[in-house]
Symmetry: C2
Subunit: 335 residues, 2 copies
DNA sequence: TAAATCTACGCAATCGATCCCGGCAACGAT
DNA sequence: ATCGTTGCCGGGATCGATTGCGTAGATTTA
């Protein structure tokens, strides 16, 4: 069995105390340059690697942060994760990703798991199903720092990172209007998500700006965020049965867009499909559906910002009372 | 600052020794049922959570496994990760995912990072760029268990989990032939990947089976796995310049398929695009490109199998000398 | 009744790194 | 000559959980 070399081994080998070795390795000014060099050389020659577990125990910190998202197989989140990693690694933190699959139980389980002191903080984007926030209350009570991004909750005092969903939604809807469509409906995400309400407002804004009538009957919600194709098909069937022929749809996410396009494929020839615009960070959607107008979120930047804020919280020596709600702007890609 | 309750706290509160508490919590037979119940009740009432870090230090194990893939924003890998998680969580392991982005340096860095004793074992799918395996040799020398999946290396004595790439490639190519195409080329991944060679063989098999001529000029490699769109465009341009008009392409991965479709979109009207078939686990590709014939890998199962093998290695009390090369079958989806 | 066996628990060391206290020597200052 | 500094370094406790060993007291056996 392989046994890694420890500080004590070095100390014994060089006939000095472990304290000195530890200090030399952390480049303490208290250690003579000569001694330091001897230690460092020996350490390098024998491939000494600090045991992060022991170090964590001593410091009461794990130098890792947990990420809770609905799924990684999603352009937005995978880009956000890249942003998270870029900051985290630069600051010496591990990133532990966990997926809720938009299921409440899994979200609770994952947060519980991560929070039981194996991470120093959490980056959370709420699951679509979650309406009960007691697990988050728990976190708060436990004093574990966390930052929300994308799908946030406003009930908690902490940093949040989002985009201007309302304006993004307005722009997307406006682009459909600009193309001449007048009977525009909205395929929305789960109703309790923060982003859902905001995007709906933007949709209404655009209609109002153009003196188009709004009615709740224009909106269909997908309670599982499109995870169940049936809910999308139901929505599409509903649209098909409206008195007014739907000529365009503003869709809240790329998963929904994907499902929506597929549903229409099964239903009718492409020529009859309504136009679609919506939030999406998927390159492939654009690639394969060239006329698809989409609202891009600065996912990477959001990940970066959220992580910076989280690490700030983690490393803060004093309790933080001032929290920021960072709102970034979206970019619209039209064709 | 929040301070979690420890075993010592419980011991002090109940006026017993920490050892007893520890043993009670791990349900030792040496502890009286009455005492045990007192301790368990107190622990639950005060929400005691075992400190995994201290536990890890003591056991020399971290109960976490590292996953090194090129990227999570990839249907195959995200499905594989779901499989990995399902097994890992069930057996009490954390999963730490890291992405190489198909870059050699990042792969080395990530493996180094994970291996420095913060994980008990690694699940690795090689980066497209990697040709130097010394960092893996290092792992081996260090005695850290690892299992390869998908993109494997045969130079090492360990378990591997793959699919029958050759047969999958043959089937995909055959499906193109069945549709009447005769001038079929192959858009391949990075040449040093195990999957690349195997899929090429399958491609050749199909041509041979049908008395179609094979030549190396039919194959274009993407050294960065399609990460750089330009390399795909070059390949497509190359195909366009062949004497024989290319009427179908067998593509090695969904990322490449995506890029390929996009490249053709820029080049010529859809009607003139060659047919495409290839390896892909992407639902969206299928959704949006309904005539796309694809070879599905049992990604979830591969993740499961690899993780089970890895945990077996980790938990084995004796050195393991017998290694398995698990090969699963692919499924072809034609239209 | 004495000895052997159990039951149930405590003591103290351990995992590796870190850090609070000191301590000692050398040197300049008074 | 004595005191105060400064530079360098060691001892030992600590983080929290775990465990080999030991043992008091109860119970059983010879």
């Amino acid at each position: 069995m392989y046994k890694p070399i420890t500080i004590k081994d070095i100390a014994r080998a060089l006939a000095i105390s472990p304290s000195t070795v530890s200090r030399a390795l952390s480049d303490s000014y208290e250690i003579n340059e000569v001694t330091k060099k001897r230690i460092l050389d020996y350490a390098e020659a024998h491939k000494y690697k600090r045991n992060p577990i022991a170090s964590s125990l001593r410091h009461g910190r794990s130098y890792s942060i947990g990420v809770v998202v609905c799924e990684v197989a999603n352009s937005f989140f995978s880009q956000a994760i890249n942003g998270i990693e870029s900051v985290a690694y630069a600051k010496g933190y591990h990133v532990i990703i966990s997926q809720s699959h938009d299921a409440y139980e899994r979200e609770v389980m994952n947060i519980e798991h991560l929070a039981s002191r194996s991470v120093d903080g959490l980056l959370i984007s709420m699951s679509a199903e979650t309406t009960d926030f007691s697990h988050i209350v728990d976190l708060h009570g436990r004093g574990l720092p966390f930052v929300f991004f994308d799908r946030i909750i406003n009930e908690f005092e902490t940093h949040t990172v989002t985009v201007n969903n309302r304006e993004g939604a307005r722009k997307a809807t406006q682009s459909l209007i600009d193309k001449g469509f007048r009977h525009i409906v909205h395929l929305a995400n789960a109703p309790h998500l923060s982003i859902t309400a905001e995007r709906l407002e933007g949709f209404k804004d655009a209609l109002r700006d153009n003196q188009l009538p709004y009615s709740d009957s224009l909106v269909r919600y997908c309670h599982h965020g499109g995870r169940i194709q049936e809910e999308i098909e139901d929505a599409v069937a509903y649209y098909a049965n409206l008195d007014q022929k739907v000529d365009a749809i503003f869709v809240a996410s790329d998963r929904l867009s994907m499902g929506c396009i597929q549903a229409y494929h099964q239903l009718q020839p492409v020529a009859q499909h309504p136009a679609i615009a919506g939030f999406s960070n998927s390159d492939s959607l654009n690639m394969l559906q060239p006329d698809f107008t989409c609202v891009r979120q600065p996912a990477f930047e959001m990940g970066r910002a959220a992580t910076e804020k989280l690490i700030q919280l983690i490393e803060s020596r004093y309790p933080v009372y001032h929290f920021e709600n960072i709102v970034l702007e979206t970019e619209i890609i039209t064709h």
